[in-house]
Symmetry: C2
C-alpha cells in the first residue's frame, strides 16, 4: 500500500506547498499612492512584528499622507518620513531592533545559495529573501524593493522614518536595520521617486520638488472597488523550487557558454500577478 501512503503524505504535509501562487493578507498589505502611480507593499509581521504593528498603526492614522521622500540616493535608497524634529516626528515611540528572527531549529527556508559574500546560506521564506549562518536564526536581507526602518546611530532608535532599497543590494545593512516589508507591485514607481542628492557641481534639488506621498492605506481599509489585489509566487512551492533549478542551470540556447551554477538571492525575481485592478 505504498502508493496511497505517498499520496496521503504529500497531501497532508505539503498541502500548502502545492499552489504556485499565494494570496496576500489585506491587513498586512499597504497601498501607497504616489503622484506617478500606485505601489503595493507586503508587510512581514512574521519577521518584524513590532515594526509592522507600529507602521500599520501610523498608516491607519494617515500619518504619512503628505510627507515626502526627503533622502533619495540613486542606486541606494529612497527614504521618507515626517519633517525631522517636528512634533509629528517626536510623537512616535522608538522601536527595538528586529534585525533577526528565530527559526527554532526548523528548516527555515527554500535554499538558494550557500556561501555567498554575506551568509552561509541564502534563500526565500514566504516571499522574502532571507539569509542565515546557523540553524537557529536568520535575517531578511537587503534586496532591491525591501522596506526597512531608518534609525539614528543607536540600535533601538527607529520610529517612523523608512526607506525602500532602489539599487544593488546594500547587504552590509543586514541585521543592523529592521526590514519589515517589500514592494510586490509598482516598483517602477518607486524607482521614479525624485532623487534628492546630486553629484558634486550640480544645483541642489529644491525640497518642493521632492516626491510626496499622496496617501498610504492598509489595503483592508481601501474601498473594495479601489483595491489592487496581488498574488505573489509561493516560494515554498514545488514549482518555485523547480524554477530555481532551471535558473541555476541556464539551459536556454542563449547561454552558449554556461555561467557559474550559482544564484545571487537578490537577483532572483519573485513574480507577482494582478488579480484585479480598478483605477
Amino acid at each position: 500500500m505504498l502508493i496511497p501512503f505517498i499520496f496521503i503524505s504529500a497531501c497532508g504535509a505539503d498541502n500548502a506547498n502545492e499552489s504556485e501562487w499565494r494570496t496576500l493578507d489585506l491587513n498586512n498589505t499597504v497601498l501607497l499612492t504616489l503622484p506617478q502611480g500606485k505601489v503595493v507593499i507586503e508587510l512581514a509581521p512574521q519577521f518584524s512584528p513590532k515594526h509592522v504593528e507600529q507602521f500599520s498603526s501610523l498608516v491607519q492614522k494617515s500619518f504619512y499622507d503628505g510627507t515626502k521622500f526627503y533622502r533619495v540616493i540613486d542606486g541606494f535608497v529612497a527614504q521618507g518620513g515626517p519633517k525631522d524634529g517636528s512634533e509629528q516626528d517626536k510623537s512616535v515611540p522608538l522601536l527595538a531592533m528586529e534585525g533577526q528572527f528565530s527559526t527554532d531549529g526548523k528548516a527555515p527556508f527554500t535554499l538558494v545559495q550557500r556561501d555567498d559574500l554575506f551568509a552561509k546560506k541564502t534563500g526565500f521564506k514566504e516571499g522574502f529573501a532571507v539569509a542565515t549562518n546557523n540553524s537557529k536564526s536568520g535575517w531578511l536581507t537587503h534586496c532591491p524593493g525591501v522596506l526597512a526602518m531608518a534609525r539614528s546611530n543607536e540600535a533601538d532608535s527607529a520610529s517612523s522614518h523608512f526607506y525602500f532599497v532602489i539599487g544593488q543590494a546594500p547587504r552590509y545593512l543586514d541585521k543592523i536595520m529592521t526590514i519589515f516589508g517589500r514592494v510586490v507591485y509598482g516598483m517602477n514607481h518607486i524607482q521614479a521617486i525624485q532623487r534628492t542628492t546630486v553629484i558634486d557641481g550640480e544645483y541642489a534639488v529644491d525640497s518642493r520638488e521632492h516626491t510626496p506621498i499622496i496617501s498610504m492605506k492598509l489595503m483592508a481599509d481601501v474601498p473594495k472597488k479601489d483595491r489592487i489585489i496581488i498574488e505573489v509566487e509561493n516560494t515554498e512551492s514545488a514549482s518555485f523550487a523547480e524554477r530555481l533549478v532551471k535558473r541555476r542551470a541556464r539551459a536556454s540556447e542563449f547561454f552558449y557558454k554556461k555561467p557559474p551554477p550559482v544564484l545571487d538571492v537578490c537577483q532572483v525575481p519573485i513574480r507577482s500577478r494582478l488579480v484585479k485592478l480598478q483605477d
Copy 2:
C-alpha cells in the same frame, strides 16, 4: 639615500595615480537625451574596441535618434534599438564577442574583493567594475548602469541593439555579452524609462508609450555650450584605494555592530562630478 629613492619612485611610477579625479575623453563620451533628461555615458574602447567603434559610428550617423526602448524590465534591463527586422536594423554588420580582455599578466586592477560568487577577484579598472579568475584575462562585470550590446543566441550576433542594466547585477551574463560603456551621469533618468513588460493580469504597455531617444551624440560633436562635462573618480588613485579600505571597515558609529568586512564590487559607487552644465 633611501628617502629620495622612494620619493622619486613614487613620483615616477605613480604619477597618474596622484589625482582623485579623471577627465573623460569627449570622443569616447556619449550624450543621450531622453524626454526626462540628459544622460552621459563613458565608452570603453580599451576593453571592447570593435563594439565602441561600431556604436560610435552609429551614434555619429544619428542612427538611434527616434528609436525606442522597446524591452524594459524593472530590476533587469532597459533595451533599445531599431525596429526588429527593419531595413535600418539589417543595415548594421554583426560584431564578434568582446566579453573578455587580456591583461598581459600585469596587475590588472584595483582589487576590491576575493572569491565572490562569480569570480576569484573583483575590482576596478579605469572606472569600470572588472573581475578575473587568473592573471591573464579579465572581464567587465554587469553592475547597474553598464551599457552592453544585446544579441541573438549566437555569440557573435550583436549589432546595434543595446541595454542598460537597471537592477541587481545580472552577473550570469558576464563574458557572454559585451559590455562597452557605463552611465556616469543621469542614471536616475535611465531608471525612469517606461517599463514595457508588465505583471500577469495587467494591461500591456502600448508601444506608443515606450520611451524614445530624442538624440544620441558623441560629446565631441556637441556644441561647446551644450556639453555636459563630467569628471569621474580615478579608480587607480590612492584616495580611491583609501576609500575602499574605509568602506570595508565601516568605522562610523552608525555601524553599532560591524558587518562582514567584504565588498560587493557592484555596490561600490564610483563618484562623478559635474564640471559644467549648460541647458
